[in-house]
């Protein structure tokens, strides 16, 4: 059974986080929100070009999906993307079931899976050799979950998610490269700008 589950992941192309993040950002035309998890995930989101609708998480490892769920519940008419690393997601697997239960159809989750804690020295995660993140997501109730085979498939899955009847999770296998930028670590400005981007507040 493990072999069968692992096959799709093994057949996927190893891609690059910054490239995929840039491809996603290029597609956004309706002030969609993008929540980036800690470390490289939000560094590459920053590097792909800052937008007021981006939220950069500077700690609270594992909470990119829960934060994105909160935004999705507050703004059901806006599309919310969440970018999370595999190591981060392992910290909060329970959140997959919460999201499956609430089933917001405006939420697209992307798991950047390189099997390592890149930022701490590329140590393998406990799941790296044995677990399949997409299979875990499906078993958690997120039936609309799939591995992206390559960049074109990733873009197709992103497009599909925009009109899906429920939340979407996309697994992407990525290399072990670090992020290409560094987010400016100013939490209050990040939050305030994001709230402007969400139309919740006007600038002072």
């Amino acid at each position: 059974m493990n072999t069968a589950i692992n096959l799709p992941a093994r057949n996927t192309k190893v891609m690059n986080r910054f490239d995929l993040t840039s491809r996603l950002i290029k597609k956004l035309e309706h002030e969609e929100a993008v929540v980036g998890g800690i470390g490289n995930t939000n560094f590459d989101l920053w590097a792909a070009g800052h937008r007021p609708q981006n939220f950069y998480m500077l700690g609270s490892m594992g909470l990119a999906f829960p934060i994105a769920l909160g935004v999705a519940l507050a703004q059901p008419k806006r599309r919310i993307f969440a970018l999370e690393g595999d190591g981060s997601l392992l910290m909060q697997l329970g959140s997959l079931s919460t999201i499956a239960t609430l089933a917001p159809k405006n939420l697209t989750m992307v798991v950047m899976d390189n099997g390592v804690y890149q930022i701490t020295g590329a140590q393998p995660t406990p799941a790296a050799a044995v677990a399949d993140i997409v299979a875990i997501a499906i078993a958690s109730g997120l039936t609309n979950s799939a591995w992206a085979a390559d960049e074109e498939d990733f873009e197709r899955l992103i497009d599909q998610s925009m009109s899906a009847a429920g939340p979407t999770l996309i697994g992407v296998r990525i290399d072990d490269k670090p992020g290409v930028g560094t987010t400016r670590r100013d939490p209050v400005q990040i939050r305030e700008r994001f709230m402007h981007g969400m139309g919740v507040r006007e600038p002072l």
Partner: protein, 190 residues
Amino acid sequence: MAVAEVQTSPQAAQEKTSQEITWHGIVLQTLKRNDIRLVPYVPDRVLTTLIKNIHADPFFTTFPTAREEEAVGIVSGAWMGGMRGAVLMQTSGFATLANVLASLAIPYQIPLIMFVSERGTLGEFNYGQSLVCRTMRPVLDSLAMEHHTCTRLEEFEFIADRSIKQAITTQAPVALILSPLLTGGKTFDK
């Protein structure tokens, strides 16, 4: 029933018979008055009636989460999206939150509102609960977080309503600790 719920004046007793005032009724009404619609929780025996009543009221979006930290992430996201929330938990759940308080709620200035049902004191029967309870106030104090221990029914609405308004206007988290003196707590015979 908690001692605090015993009313002494005849007038108060009369009001009580027409519409019984309860701590969980005050929580529900205060949340509503402050337009707090999103209530994720990790349950506690003491919170049972409150959780049931919040589920029964269509004003609220309420659901269980697997961890308290997850609930904090959800209400933080909702706040930034323009929807107010509060998290319900028990003492041992609060003990899992130091990282998210220090890395999300406080530095991003998010008015995180927490109701913590207090276990570990005033008749605790589980040694682990009594130990973890001792970590709660030192963690709150070390982060200089606003917190109140709610013990008396007649003060509770004032504390809850004012604390919620203060959290929102000052963009700072608050923990309202629900003492067994207020709620009756959980005892060994339950």
